[in-house]
Symmetry: D2
Subunit: 262 residues, 4 copies
């Protein structure tokens, strides 16, 4: 019979065997990122931030990443869009600031599973186009079963100079997820906890530019599991659009170094 | 700020709001199922059965389901293949027999997430072709990023008569999953528990026939997260192939009525 | 060296060998069809009808077909949406009425190629959802690279009685395509000809109901090859929506019996 | 009514309007190419070369291209694999050497249609993975409905130096297709002609390395339209594997400058 070994790491299905715990990072060798930032209404945004945190600034960041050469996926690839807000956690032990992952859309199941179950990053599925690039405009579309709910456009790219690049060689990209595993056979949680997940980006080339985004609300029939999320985010006013950035580089994710915040 | 309400049900991302707990079932209005059964080596199969169970028979069932008209997905659809073995659980409180879900492949992310997190069904992703039907042969292929690892074929279909059909109007399809949520920042489990998940199938039409299956082992480079699972299952000898069945009907899943086995 | 044989039939790439000409039909064993019909403005519709024809009625038909068990594709499947208008051709030899295929969207390349090259059916690609079925509503979405441009909904289904069914056992579905192969290295045609393509539908079950459709115009950036087609069709006024139908059955296509209209 | 204008260029469906002929090229701004070359048996290869040509060398080239930033597709993208052999055409007017396109697999329908109908490039559909990149190995898989039939691997990459790069700044990539449009309602051709299609590649970075390829033959049930092509190519012996190359750059395709060979 199969016996669990507490010194091993398992993923469901666990009973085909686990692996040793290795406190190491994994590398995404080739990433293209778009990051859009905008100021929004504090009270409206706070409605989606668990009260364990304080909101550092009433600001939303939408980050698109086209990830290639991913070590833990044997060199495979996927795209993601993360919507986050800067929060601060002051607990009995931990005092950290990081991006609180409001929601992350990804176009492959494999990283969705590990992200949710291992670090509480609230990943859900969408079709996400690779970047289309036409006459200086970069754009992508997120859709679910044929219905687009978010488009992102980046234009007027101005490359950063050598000096600026040197100053931003490594960008910390730590995020906080909230892992929630429901109780079986009733309401409420079996597990509900904030998790700090350290990661960073190594910059090879970068551009500033102009970002534009467009949400399209969905009906329950079009997208029954996500319509309320899209409605919430589409309803956040864009009070002031900040400068957008495009970054080519690599990403280093340190899931084994994540920790539950206390 | 967002505050969790213990009387509500949440899915990640939780902070956009929860829903009331409803002890109800959900219906899959239109399903086509293939079920193949074969005797295998007891010791080899037991190696993948957690010791909390006893193996009722050294038998593997491979079930393909083409599911359409799914209520909780607003009428959408997906395909799945479940590999299971009949087990018995005798605990302090519970005494049940059901199909232990060794692994389930599905071709959509949404049901993978709820299955894993709410009932411990070890669902992972594969591309699964809808049934091809040609000159009395029904077949499908499971693949990951272009590499087929399992094909299923059903032929020589003989329809069940009225009397036989009447006798099998409703088929219990209860399954047991093992929910495993890893500890953060180290080996071992934060949550590790068997879950009983009641479901049944309503039969409209049924056929007996001949089943054939073919596993193709994968390298780590082809399928890094699943190669060891495929290798394990491909290695189980087919000592005697039982009769195969095809069933058209509906399925009723009662996830809210699931319970942790004790 | 490879030598063409004029007694053989070839598809590109031709040089791997051809097949014998067989004046036979091919069967789609399992089809679900939705057909919506509406009256529109005659002059506006005629702008898209080649002058070789006369428009029988200022009427547009939008037909969705979910095709399974397709013999020539070894039992595989695809979905299509055809937009057509009833035309009459009176030539030196031929005098026929049929549905002129204004455009056909399909979600697989293989039938697109044969349809265009062998019978001039103007097939182009779209992602087309299988029918979603929820509480008596049937719906699907056509999209291109994530952007929906057409949704179809069918509701209030009333099944046809035995007598009505018997009266419509076989429905002729003949269509006319216009095969256009461009000249190389300049404007104009190398081949430009109307083709009559006989097909029919065998009805197993049928329902009348209420149809609804919604076009969403696209920008050139969203859909550079199709935006003008969608704009043209979306611009045709729906003067009067006729009754919609849903039909389950089989289809018989007789491409080898097609002929150039003269 | 719609009237064709011989001074315009049309694609099916033609009746929604044509465009002006422009004798211009189109640019693929971002391409990654793998090229494998091997010597094979002359007689076996010649069996697939139309007798209008002479085979320059008994050599097969397999080229993979990951194309991004494609102008005529509004910045969209697709992957392709071309299998070709070097041929010479000596006609009444034309005397050219180019790569004869034996077959081209592409993972989007749009370029398949224009390639076939406008320049006779024998494009057919396959799922083609973007390059996986893991520890210095680059690999991709071609599959059809879940069944892989070709894998390509490139390793031991050695970058070309400045001088070598300067010497190969622009690589001519002219190809010859054979446009074959069948007669309607019988065997034989309505159109059958060789077409010269000028294109070239601009090199930004390049590497030499080691190439490996693996064909997997398919049954008719797995791939009814392509099994005979795969069987033919898989049957060509690899007498000597040449050096493989990887090239990053751009491609310039001049379809409007193509011409029928005479």
């Amino acid at each position: 019979m199969f016996r669990f070994d507490e010194s091993k790491c398992y993923k469901m299905p666990a009973h085909f065997g686990g692996s040793d715990y290795v406190a190491a990072s994994t590398r995404y060798h080739d990433t293209v990122n778009l990051a859009f930032r905008y100021a929004t209404d504090r009270a409206m945004l706070e409605a989606y931030i668990p009260e364990a945190f304080t909101l550092v600034r009433p600001e939303v960041t939408i980050g698109f990443s086209q990830c290639r050469g991913i070590d833990w996926m044997a060199g495979s690839y996927y795209n993601l869009v993360m919507v986050s807000a800067p929060v601060r956690f002051d607990g009995a032990r931990d005092h950290v600031e990081a991006a609180f992952a409001l929601v992350v859309w990804e176009n492959k199941t494999t990283p969705i599973l590990t992200g949710r179950e291992e670090t509480g990053v609230p990943k859900i599925f969408a079709d996400i186009e690779d970047l289309h690039v036409f006459e200086g405009e970069y754009f992508t579309t997120l859709s679910f079963e044929g219905n687009a709910f978010l488009t992102l456009r980046f234009s007027d790219a101005v490359p950063l100079g050598e000096q600026e690049l040197a100053a931003m060689k490594v960008i910390p990209m730590d995020i906080i997820g909230w892992r929630y595993i429901p109780r079986v056979g009733g309401p409420g949680a079996e597990l509900s906890q904030p998790i700090f997940f350290p990661q960073h980006c190594e910059v090879k080339r970068a551009w500033t530019g102009k970002g534009a985004l467009q949400w399209t609300e969905q009906t329950w029939l079009q997208n029954p599991m996500q319509a309320h999320i899209i409605k919430a985010l589409a309803g956040l006013p864009v009070l002031e659009m900040g400068a957008a950035m495009m970054i080519e580089g690599a990403a280093v994710l340190s899931a084994p170094l994540a920790r539950v915040l206390e």
